[in-house]
Amino acid sequence: MTGYFHSIWIATADILKGMRVTLVTMLKPAVTVQYPDEKLLPFEAFRGALAFDAETCIACGLCAKACPSECIALESLKNEAGKRVPKLDWYSVDFGKCNFCRLCEEACPTKPKSVRHSLDYELVFDDRGQMTRFWKKGFPAMGRVFDPQRKEFVDPEGHLRVQGGEA
């Protein structure tokens, strides 16, 4: 009989101990943020969506070789004789394949890096076609996608959001 009441006592005491932790935590401020209204800024080293600078790129193709999932494609310009020159014609990244691993950025020989991770963590796409981004000279650092209806490259609306700092 005493064992019965003893076990009730032990169970109540242990559960009350647990409730104390809950109560103490309840009085502390919340650690979560209300996401769409409040946005956290990632750390400087954060590996977000790839950004690209078509002006500095020398079209060496080291990034495409370093990529583990072959998501990078590029073509260099050719001179009159048909030989490749170290200037970029076009560049594309398939974000459907991208691993966000920074191997391309590490392989890039230019200074500042032509291809680099931005702080953008809000990469969203409506369809698979948008996952491939294109860059040419004059395109913004976050790239453009091809719109099959308008038959031209457009800024992916609503996708060009780079938190704090350069695009």
Binding site: D14, F43, A45, C101
Partner: protein
């Protein structure tokens, strides 16, 4: 008038029933199907069915270069990607005869132990949910987020780090980072007591886990268990002690042992292991040497033909990587000895004779990650 005789146990027809335990949804990450044959409430046969998450990482490695394979190793055990990186890099370093600088070694230890904490916190939280306690999950994930913040600061990613590289680590950790890591440890130590109060000594939790799914030491060894699952049965085997790598011999820590080998021991071994991890991290942060973090290794690795094996104590057990080189830029063969895969095998014997309500408690306590099981 004749009345029917009351049904007796022998006259009741008891059919065996086949029940699928999972998968909940085909596109969920990491699904496991266990075909259970039950008789009433008792399991008479259990067949684990794996392969839903098979991505062919070992085959893929044969067409990737050595540096690119680190990225794939992140995706094995996604709850503790650092130890996967480490096991693979150690194997390749052995193959090419490279040695990571002392600072890189210390940073590797710190990151692996932080990852062990993050990984065990997932078990602590989700095991509570499996048993029916929701609150510890929120507490555990609050602390895990802080570890992930530290990783984001040093490596730039929160889950697939690609931080430990062949010959060292990706980038140096700043003094700021070390201060933040210390801050986290100071915050985390008292939280461990909270977990014990919230979950470990909760009488309902104890009733569900004590004496359930007992694995005697002999059986654990014969099934090849490793990690906390093995140590909970009282076998003192820890790769960090038996075959120290990255200078683990320098740090003060104990092998955490259970004695009964039941679900509670497997759970509590992990909680106590987090305390040991805190000790290792503080010691490593105190003795963090200065210097380079990446040894000079050629950009394109073409190791001489040969083979190498390296294993580390991952969060879930003895994680081994075997690499065979044929002199080209990609491995001829890569094999991963995944602890979860081996730990999962015991399920077919462990489930038999248990009640169906205990099946979840047992499955949860083994702490398997399907990304590693299926590879």
């Amino acid at each position: 008038m004749k009345t029917a005789a009351p049904p007796t146990r022998s006259s009741l027809k008891t059919d065996q029933l086949f029940v699928n335990l999972g998968p909940q949804h085909p596109s969920t990450h990491g699904v496991l199907r266990v075909g259970l044959t039950i008789e009433g409430e008792v399991i008479v046969k259990a067949e684990p069915d794996i392969g839903f998450l098979h991505r062919g990482v070992e085959k893929l490695a044969e067409i990737r270069t050595y540096a690119q394979e680190v990225v794939l190793s992140d995706r094995l055990d996604y709850c503790s990607a650092m130890t996967n990186n480490l096991a693979y890099c150690l194997a390749v370093e052995r193959l090419i005869g490279a040695q990571a600088p002392p600072r890189a070694d210390a940073l590797r230890v710190i990151h692996c132990e932080l990852n062990r904490i993050a990984s065990h916190l997932i078990l602590l939280g989700t095991y509570g949910i499996d048993i029916g306690a929701f609150t510890p999950f929120l507490h555990a994930f609050r602390e895990r987020e802080m570890v992930l913040d530290l990783f984001e600061m040093s490596s730039g990613a929160r889950l697939t780090y690609n931080y430990i590289r062949i010959g060292g680590v990706m980038r140096d950790a700043s003094a700021d980072w070390a201060a933040k890591a210390r801050e986290f440890l100071a915050y985390f130590k008292p939280r461990l007591d909270d977990y014990d109060e919230l979950l470990s000594y909760n009488p309902i939790f104890l009733d569900r886990t004590k004496g359930v799914g007992v694995i005697p030491a002999k059986k654990a060894v014969s099934w090849g268990l490793s990690g906390p699952n093995l140590r909970a049965s009282g076998v003192a085997y820890d790769v960090r002690k038996c075959e120290p790598h990255c200078g683990y011999e320098k740090y003060p820590f104990k092998i955490v042992l259970g004695h009964a080998g039941d679900c509670f021991d497997r759970y509590h071994c992990r909680v106590r292991e987090m305390r040991e991890a805190v000790k290792i991290i503080s010691a490593a942060l105190d003795g963090l040497p200065e210097g380079e973090v990446l040894a000079k290794v050629p950009k394109v690795l073409k190791p001489a033909p040969g083979e190498a094996y390296a294993h580390v104590e991952g969060s879930r057990g003895d994680l081994g990587v075997y690499v065979v080189s044929d002199g080209t830029a990609s491995p001829y063969r890569l094999h991963v000895r995944a602890p979860s895969f081996v730990n999962l095998a015991i399920l077919q014997e462990l489930f038999v004779g248990q009640r169906i309500a205990d099946a979840i408690a047992i499955l949860g306590s083994l702490d398997i990650v399907l990304g590693e099981v299926d590879r």
